[in-house]
């Protein structure tokens, strides 16, 4: 399926409204369907122009209770210098925009910005406000750093 620029803009606009306006407009939740969306969370002042976290997905479908069914979720967190700290991705998850919680029983992956730490697992709970991630099953972490000998442990 191909999308023209106008469609993509509309979708992004709808998604942006979906993710940024919900807390203040909880009674006017859109019930539409969004594709290729991105939502940014910014640092507190005086760094309010810098992106702290970016949540994106290929598709978002509304679920009962204000939840969203997101396909191909990707969450990126950034440092104040703009460097990517962590990238979290999942083929599917349910996201609650009201409290910033995403969860899924399916596969997920986490990678550090420098690519040296890679985490995979099954089933997760992501809390946006505290930047915490719980992986509930089959967690595998790979730490790849030249010179680091985990022989210490």
């Amino acid at each position: 399926m191909k999308w023209n620029a106008a469609t993509v803009c509309l979708a992004i606009g709808a998604a942006t409204f979906l993710f940024t306006g919900m807390k203040d407009h909880a009674q006017s939740l859109p019930v539409g369907h969004a594709t290729d969306f991105t939502s940014n969370q910014y640092f507190e002042p005086p760094n309010e122009r810098l992106v702290k976290m970016r949540l994106s997905g290929a598709e978002a479908m509304p679920l009962p209770g204000g939840l969203l069914d997101i396909r191909h979720l990707q969450v990126e967190t950034f440092a104040l210098d703009g460097k990517t700290q962590v990238i979290v991705s999942a083929p599917q998850c349910n996201y609650s925009p009201f409290d910033g919680v995403a969860n899924s029983a399916g596969h997920m992956e986490l990678q550090s910005g420098d690519g040296k730490i890679d985490v995979r697992g099954e089933g997760f709970l992501w809390r946006q406000t505290s930047s915490s991630l719980t992986i509930s099953n089959h967690v595998r972490t790979l730490i790849n750093m030249p010179g680091v000998t985990m022989a210490g442990l």
Binding site: K116, S132, I143, M145, G147, V148, G152, L153
Partner: protein, 184 residues
């Protein structure tokens, strides 16, 4: 009995004499082959579940934790890792509950360490690297030739040896099954 004790003392003194680094003030030490710091395959951590605090850069691994390294294997039930950032060295790991560490030194000697808790710390102070693993909670190191009890037991990786406190050792060469003998 005196003969057994003499053999044990002899064996332990051999360990001490093989040490190539100047002792600081440890009651007893035993050498461990130093590892190279060249590029190596990734370290793998497996567990049933895990919690990541991305603000604090910490990970807590729970249940059936297994750390697999080309030279070391660690198992425990709970492990806190301070995640390195920007290519930094791994600085702090706390492993707890049924900690088991197995490794083989450069001479092919196998070490099997058990303890309730192990703490790995890596610090560089005034260009001096301090890299230690401190075992507590009835730590025991089992080697090819002996079994050594010490509380605590510190694996000083910077100086490349074990540091024991009031160690008790059973030499396997004697073939004795008797109780541990206090050496100091």
């Amino acid at each position: 009995m005196k003969h057994i004790f003499f053999l044990m003392m002899l064996g332990f003194s051999c360990l001490l004499s093989a040490q190539t680094n100047a002792p600081v003030a440890p009651p007893a030490t035993a050498p461990v082959a130093k590892e190279s710091t060249k590029t190596k395959p990734p370290t793998e951590i497996d567990s049933d579940s895990a919690d990541f605090d991305l603000n604090a850069h910490q990970a807590v691994y729970r249940n059936h934790v297994v750390v697999t390294d080309p030279k070391v294997r660690l198992t425990c039930e709970w492990m806190l890792v301070t995640l390195p950032q920007g290519g930094e060295h791994l600085s702090h790991v706390l492993a707890a509950t049924n900690v088991v560490v197995d490794f083989t030194n450069a001479q092919g000697e196998k070490y099997h360490v058990t303890a309730a808790q192990a703490v790995y710390d890596y610090k560089v102070v005034n260009t001096v690297t301090n890299e230690t693993v401190t075992f507590t909670g009835n730590p025991v190191v089992d080697t090819t030739n002996s079994t050594i009890y010490s509380e605590p037991m510190v694996w000083d990786r910077g100086r490349n040896h074990f540091v024991f406190t009031e160690p008790k050792m059973i030499s396997k060469d004697t073939g004795t099954n008797g109780p541990a003998q206090k050496l100091f």
